[in-house]
């Protein structure tokens, strides 16, 4: 059954924990329970913010707070389970982001804030989280270099913890299309990682092999 993993190693690591189940919290928050709303916020906001970082760059926090305003306001109308809620929140955030981009487009300049993400060590300069922040920012910056449909597919699945179906609903696409986009995104990321200078600042170390990786078809 596990033959395919056996050829590499037998150990399967969990890279990140499964998303917290929010069903009960959502119901409680709908009844007005502020504590439950906080639980929801804490569980969803980090992923939401990262998703938005890739969509709108530095304005992610502003767009996220707009999204939360709407989430708080429309919470009563939401029907669904925990995964459904994440998808719903992501959809709201996404629409806010697209609104924002439309507004921005009318403004001059101010382009590609994403590229600065990797250089910018986050606002809190506490030494402990700085490296992590850098790694995470660098990761997001790299993901932001993907075509948007691929970046969104990867983020909704990895960062928001949605399955292909739910991600598809957020994006208005079929699950298969999202899967394909995410897979292409991963392949492209793997290739980006092969290039010198794109290694993550911590953890994986600088030993990125340079040019010997053949790479698959150029995307």
């Amino acid at each position: 059954m596990v033959a395919e993993s056996a050829k590499e190693t037998t150990e399967v690591r969990r890279l990140w924990a499964d998303p917290v189940d929010l069903s009960a919290a959502v119901v409680a928050a709908q009844r007005g329970d502020e504590g439950a709303f906080r639980v929801i916020y804490r569980a969803v906001q980090p992923g939401l913010l990262r998703y938005l970082r890739v969509l709108v760059g530095e304005d992610a926090e502003d767009v996220a707070s707009e999204a939360w305003l709407q989430i708080a306001r429309d919470l009563g109308s939401f029907r669904g389970d925990s995964d459904g809620f994440r998808g719903w929140a992501a959809t709201i955030a996404r629409h806010r982001a697209l609104d924002h981009l439309r507004r921005e487009r009318r403004r001059p300049a101010h382009s590609l804030p994403i590229e600065q993400l990797a250089d910018r060590p986050s606002d809190d300069d506490t030494a402990g989280s700085a490296l992590d922040a850098l790694a995470s920012d660098a990761a997001l910056a790299l993901i932001a270099r993907l075509p948007r449909d691929q970046a969104e597919a990867v983020l909704l699945r990895v960062v928001m913890g949605l399955d292909a179906q739910a991600a598809g609903r957020v994006l208005g696409k079929r699950a298969g299309a999202v899967r394909t986009a995410a897979h292409r995104g991963l392949r492209k990321l793997a290739k980006l990682l092969e290039r010198p200078g794109t290694a993550l600042p911590d953890g994986s170390g600088p030993g990125v092999t340079g040019a010997d990786g053949k790479g698959d078809t150029t995307g």
Partner: protein, 243 residues
């Protein structure tokens, strides 16, 4: 140890990576983990909770306003009815009014049901999620929510914030003693948090108008609730230095 694999990733591997599973070290897995690993990022919590509180406070506030209006209406109608009673067609007049449905409504009978202000926002929101089986009550309709947004409680809070900031310069503590700010204090989560809440709130708001001259209202009839008529009057009345 870095058994660096060629970037050929089959569908199975891709799916597992996307689910957060991996076998062995891998750059790509590290990258995804870094992207997924949560850290801080909760600086907006109080603002979000304030919005939540606001959304749940508004019905009560509006209800109170509503009942005030009802009382006023009732007085007015009572006078009218009294006047009508004085005239010879008293009975006919009331009957007529009843027939046309004006009287009961102005008397306050159907008012709550005809204009369920308390649940108004929620009702509006249901436009987006009419179908309860729809897990994703697509937010797009509510994003272009001109009616709902104009009823949003935010404008008055923004107005209150502006009023507060205008008055706070001289004496921030004193400014908050004005009962008009009670709501603002509640929403902000305490007297001492009003300044920060307002700074945050107005900062966020302040960004939007920048894009307005170029045509914000055209495509975004929704996004600019600042001009809601119910917003400005409040602070004018209460926060103005004239009082």
């Amino acid at each position: 140890m870095s058994t660096h694999r060629s970037p050929r990733i089959d569908r199975l591997t891709a799916e597992r990576l996307l689910r957060g599973e991996t076998a062995g070290p891998d750059q790509l897995a590290e990258l995804l983990a870094a992207a997924a690993a949560p850290r801080g990022e909760l600086s907006g919590e109080e603002a979000a909770v304030a919005a939540f509180r606001e959304a749940h406070l508004v019905p009560a506030l509006q209800q109170r306003k509503q009942s005030m209006i009802k009382t006023a209406l009732l007085k007015f109608v009572t006078l009218k009815v009294a006047a009508a009673a004085l005239s010879a067609t008293a009975v006919g007049g009331v009957a007529l009014a009843t027939g046309t449905g004006h009287l009961p409504e102005s008397l306050g009978g159907p008012v709550p049901s005809a204009r369920p202000t308390a649940t108004h926002d929620i009702g509006k929101a249901h436009v987006a999620g009419d179908d309860p089986t729809n897990v994703f009550p697509s937010p797009s309709p509510s994003l272009s929510r001109s009616p709902s947004a104009s009823r949003s409680p935010s404008p008055s809070l923004v107005g209150l914030c502006r009023a507060y900031q205008a008055g706070a310069g001289d004496n921030p503590g004193k400014a908050l003693e004005n009962p008009a700010f009670t709501h603002l204090i509640t929403v902000a989560g305490g007297r001492d948090k009003v300044a920060a809440y307002c700074a945050d709130r107005l900062k966020t708001r302040g960004k939007a108008p920048a894009s307005r001259p170029t045509g914000g209202p055209k495509d975004h009839p929704n996004g600019k609730p600042e001009d809601h008529p119910s917003g400005p009057p409040k602070p004018d009345k209460t926060g103005g230095p004239s009082h």
